[in-house]
């Protein structure tokens, strides 16, 4: 493995892990709202969250590009107010991975929250616990397996993300290139040996991720 391969592997891994961690708080909050509360516009929010799963990733990437570019609503403000650029930087990779894996986390966590007996949460309230304490001491621990499962899915989805990333972050070697993007590029340039090497790394990463997930879930069960 060349230094460049190491950099690719490391970048892909940490940016996937970071995106999974960053979507965790909002993901759990929205999953909890969907599982436990009724409110107006709930189905609209549900639909919007699921969109990245059903739309072509390239289309999602294009939307992100429009919003986060210097002329976009959020991108423009970030550039003017903080001097921060998103598009075609590692931050864009992070956003693309987060958006694409968000639905997987929310779906798993929501199903896990719905399985927690609401009676347990109610009785915790009668024992003096406020909503935050009920969530962290009762709901979340009892839904931990489903949440962990959702995180593994989200992480795996992020590792393999291609379409949205290439739209919003490009494929800049050493800056925004991920394993998937590089495999594609190597094949395009006819460098089959390099593509196969990266394929091996991807497979190994996926194997370790899934194996760790299964091991973790089994341990929690015991």
């Amino acid at each position: 493995m060349s230094a460049e391969d190491w950099q690719l592997t490391w970048f892909t891994t940490w940016v996937s892990a970071l995106s999974t961690l960053l979507i965790l708080p909002p993901g759990l909050f929205i999953a909890w709202l969907l599982a436990r509360r009724e409110w107006r516009g709930k189905s609209l929010v549900e639909t919007c969250i699921l969109l990245p799963m059903v739309m072509p990733p390239v289309a999602t990437g294009l939307i992100l590009l429009k919003i986060l570019g210097r002329r976009g609503a959020i991108g423009g403000w970030l550039h003017d107010a903080l001097g921060m650029d998103i598009v075609f930087t590692w931050r864009a990779v992070l956003v693309a991975l987060g958006v694409m894996s968000f639905p997987l986390l929310v779906l798993s966590a929501r199903a896990a929250f719905e399985k927690v007996n609401p009676r347990l949460e109610q009785i915790a309230q009668t024992l003096g616990a406020g909503p935050v304490r009920v969530f962290f001491t009762i709901t979340a621990p009892l839904a931990a397996r489903g949440i962990a499962g959702g995180m593994i899915l989200a992480f795996a989805r992020a590792l393999g993300e291609f379409g949205a990333t290439i739209m919003v972050a490009g494929n800049i070697p050493g800056r925004t290139s991920t394993l998937s993007l590089s495999i594609f590029q190597s094949v395009q340039m006819g460098d089959d040996a390099h593509a196969c090497r990266l394929l091996g790394i991807s497979t190994a990463l996926a194997f370790i991720g899934v194996w760790f997930g299964i091991w973790f879930l089994r341990r929690r069960k015991e």
């Binding site: 009676r119 109610q122 009785i123 009668t126 003096g128 001491t137």
Partner: protein, 356 residues
């Protein structure tokens, strides 16, 4: 304790819960068949459920008043709740469950050791809740609610899921909570024995409506209407005192009479009891000279004769008031009139004793 429920209106699946009552009892039993809204009523009191309209006041403090948009959250009500499924936290140990609502730094009324000793769960605290038997889980759930030092305890059919042997074991713990700790309770059940053993006052709830409320003996002895009578099953209930036990037969003094009861299950050392006799288990003889197998022969004088559905209800005095249900034909053949002398026959197994 004083609890007031007014203007309650909560639409449920096929009726509206509309249960208004006031109680000052130590233990108020909410009695009724399943599906009559008893659990929903407890949820309203606990603040776990919003009604269309409700006014709930505990010891002078308004907890719910939909008219003024007052809704004290469940966590600030100071009301303990043991639901029917107990809701022990499965991922926590017994100790963690017990300490969940306990605040030793706030100098609570009930101390950890005291409650653990009272309910005899000391040996269980290190275990996981899934390793407990049904009766143990019941006691842990009770202890957890008590450790919050509640001013009112809500119990939803606490003995319903237990077999008769376990019931007899848990009942004394509930009596101890009542007598030693003095925590007032709303006690939901459809079991007559539990009601008589524990209750002071009771409300009969049928399809969301309160059909009758009053002291336990009042309601059982004088059901307000047919619906209540059908649910509580009319019978004579009298205070009695166990005087001895010979060969499986318990002798019990009631008024000026002495009865024999076949009650092998009654715990030794029981003194005061409720004596329950169903009217249909009482046979009458016009002639005192006839021999018969029933252990209890009680001479008495007929007070009233009244029609009760297809039967006749005879109320008579045999040292204590007793009721008998006879067929119309039997009544005519014996020409039973007020003032007539009769002998009541009751088999010992039909004299039912409930510790009080």
């Amino acid at each position: 304790m004083s609890l007031v429920l007014k203007d309650i209106s909560l639409p449920l699946a096929d009726f509206v819960l509309d249960a208004n009552f006031e109680t000052r009892g130590r233990i108020t039993v909410i009695f009724g068949p399943s599906g009559s809204g008893k659990t929903s009523l407890l949820d309203l009191v606990a603040g776990l459920r919003r009604a269309k309209s409700a006014f709930i006041q505990l010891d002078g403090e308004v907890l719910t008043d939909t008219a003024k948009d007052v809704m004290v959250p469940a966590r600030r009500r100071g009301i303990g709740y043991v639901p029917q499924d107990l809701a022990l936290f499965p991922h926590l140990s017994v100790r963690q469950n017990l300490l969940f609502g306990h605040r030793p730094e706030q100098n609570p009324k009930f101390k950890f050791e005291q409650i653990v000793d009272l309910l005899e769960i000391g040996p269980l605290v290190q275990r996981g809740v899934t390793q407990l038997s049904g009766g143990e889980q019941q006691r842990v759930a009770l202890a957890r609610a008590l450790l919050r030092s509640p001013r009112l305890l809500l119990l939803d059919e606490p003995l319903a899921s237990l077999d008769a042997r376990l019931k007899a074991k848990i009942l004394p713990y509930l009596m101890r909570i009542r007598d030693t700790l003095g925590v007032p309770m709303l006690y939901v059940t459809h079991d007559r024995d539990e009601t008589l053993s524990l209750g002071d006052e009771m409300v009969v709830l049928v399809r969301g409506k309160i059909e009758q409320s009053g002291t336990v003996r009042e309601v059982f002895n004088r059901p307000a209407n047919l619906s209540v009578a059908g649910i509580v099953a009319v019978e004579t209930i009298l205070p009695g005192h166990v005087t001895g036990s010979v060969g499986g037969l318990v002798t019990v003094a009631v008024g000026s009479a002495v009865l024999s009861a076949a009650e092998p299950a009654i715990p030794p050392g029981t003194g005061e009891v409720h004596v329950c006799i169903r009217a249909e288990d009482v046979a009458l003889l016009a002639d005192a000279g006839v021999q018969g197998s029933p252990r209890n022969r009680l001479p008495g004088i007929v007070r009233t004769v009244a029609r009760d559905g297809a039967m006749m209800r005879i109320d008579f005095d045999c040292g204590f008031p007793l009721a008998a249900l006879l067929t119309v034909q039997a009544c005519e053949e014996m020409s039973l009139q007020p003032g007539a002398r009769v002998v009541a026959l009751i088999k010992a197994p039909h004299v039912h004793l409930i510790p009080r």
